[in-house]
């Protein structure tokens, strides 16, 4: 029986790593992956709590989140591909036509 706090701390770490990834990387794909990490850390929290209170809702929630993630990935990758086609780059620090 794993204490809840362990999973929470772990999820927090993962979330943080994801967050940092978003902040430090410039490759849109990697940024996106880091976001996925953040989502998964959230999932971990759900599962952990579901376990703790022995309710099913958390897990169902995770299921929905995965669906959403899939949808996002589909659209997101499409956008990135389109971006690459237009500009031959996926580096977000080369993309600031729109500013100020």
């Amino acid at each position: 029986m794993i204490p809840l706090s362990w999973s929470l701390i772990l999820s927090a770490l993962v979330f943080g790593i994801g967050l940092i990834g978003v902040l430090v990387r410039r490759n849109a794909l990697i940024i996106f992956m880091s976001i996925e990490l953040m989502l998964n850390s959230a999932n971990l929290v759900f599962v952990a709590f579901a376990r703790a209170m022995n309710s099913i809702d958390g897990q169902v929630f995770v299921f929905f989140v995965m669906t959403v993630a899939a949808a996002e990935v589909a659209v997101g990758l499409a956008i990135i591909v389109n971006l690459f086609r237009l500009r031959e780059t996926v580096f977000v620090d080369e993309i600031n036509l729109l500013k100020n």
């Binding site: 989502l39 959230a42 929630f61 959403v68 997101g76 729109l98």
Partner: protein
Amino acid sequence: MNLVPPPTLLAVDWYALGAVLALSVGAMLLLLLEFVPKKPDSNRAAIVSLITLAAAGWSVFHVRGTARSLFGGMFVHDSFSVFFTLLFCSVAAVSVLLSWDYLKRTRIHQTEYYMLLLSATLGMILMAASNDLITVFLGLELMSIALYVMVGFRRGQLESNEAALKYFLLGAFASGFLLYGIALLYGATGTTNIAAMSAFVADSPLKENPLLIVGGLLLLTGFAFKVAAVPFHMWTPDAYEGAPTTVTAFMSAGAKAAGFAALLRVVLHSLGGVHEYWTPVLTAIAMLTMTVGNISALLQTSVKRMLAYSSIAHAGYLLVAVVAGGPEGASAALFYLAVYSAMNVGAFGVLALLGRGQEERVLVADLAGLGFRQPLIGLAMTVFMLSLGGIPPTAGFMGKVYLFGVALRAGLVPLVIVGVLNSVVSVFYYLRITVAMYMDEPRGEPTQVSWAVPAAIALLACLALTLWWGVQAHQLLLQAQRSVTGLM
């Protein structure tokens, strides 16, 4: 094996679900109709979506009197959701009318566009009409994903694509926070149902529940991102500027309203018990939002971008109402949202008419001398600008009066002072538009206006509402006040 019996739906429930059903069906119908050949310049898609929206609005309006909670509170039908459903449907309808000709000009695929527009509307409605964080989240994602695509709809165009990318990346980023917040809240309260949550918060022994705080806070940031509140606003100008103008119109009104609907439900309802915790935070955010929004708009040369910043500022005003809280605050927010949608959609609608073919003329300079050459455009834009600036006799003024009055009563004097001063600052850049239209001489070839009957109808509708609510807002006021009674 305890099988939970399938939900039993009464007739009224079907009406209540009408909006959801109609919109989903309409969306799919649009796709199916692709297999029926049509003339290249047919307006079939537009008409279908108009009908869909009408049906959606009507069916909900038909049972406006009742309050129902379906699927164990996953979907609620109360005066609040009715108000927003109608708001979203009308905003969507106006956007359809505006897009009618715009899509042809800019060669955007109609079917997909309208399909996404309907789905986004569906998402907004879910955000407003669901009493469970799961559905709220799903609705939000539905709306967002549809909007990501719509923003990037002009694939061949760098700005459009860049806008989509930024909006998408940051949106996903934000929903990461949002999700984490929901997870913590779920952990703190053991449920995702807003009603149950508020019940728990109400009688939980310690308000000092850190999970609750952190979770609520992250949730807040998620919504703050959607409504473009400082410092989570930075995507807004870029996304608004890059998106096709009609999309900007749609999202500036719809997405913001949806965000506020969710925010009101959550902050005022589920977290209402710990309201005093949020007051200082929200106050700070509101002040920042108003000020930063207006200040950054001051020097913009692109009307579209300027309006984007102004929409940030308006989010700030709306946050004032949220801070004020209570039924009065909520009703003020609703009132202002309705007003804001009318004038803001109108303003972007005017921009959507400017320019020929692919080009878009959205610089302040492009408006030079337009006021006298195109009296209707001039009049409409002037009224919208004055209304945004909160000058009587326009709806914006009434909205501000009610909103700031409520805040004053709630004792938020500093917030109100900052607010009114901000509205003075804002008037400066709104006036610049009128200056350009009436007082500047056009340089270069004058801006063309692509007139189309539907767009004109849409504009006139916005204009009429903006003026009518300015001189006689009684009905709207009543609706706003009634619509929040269910919420509390």
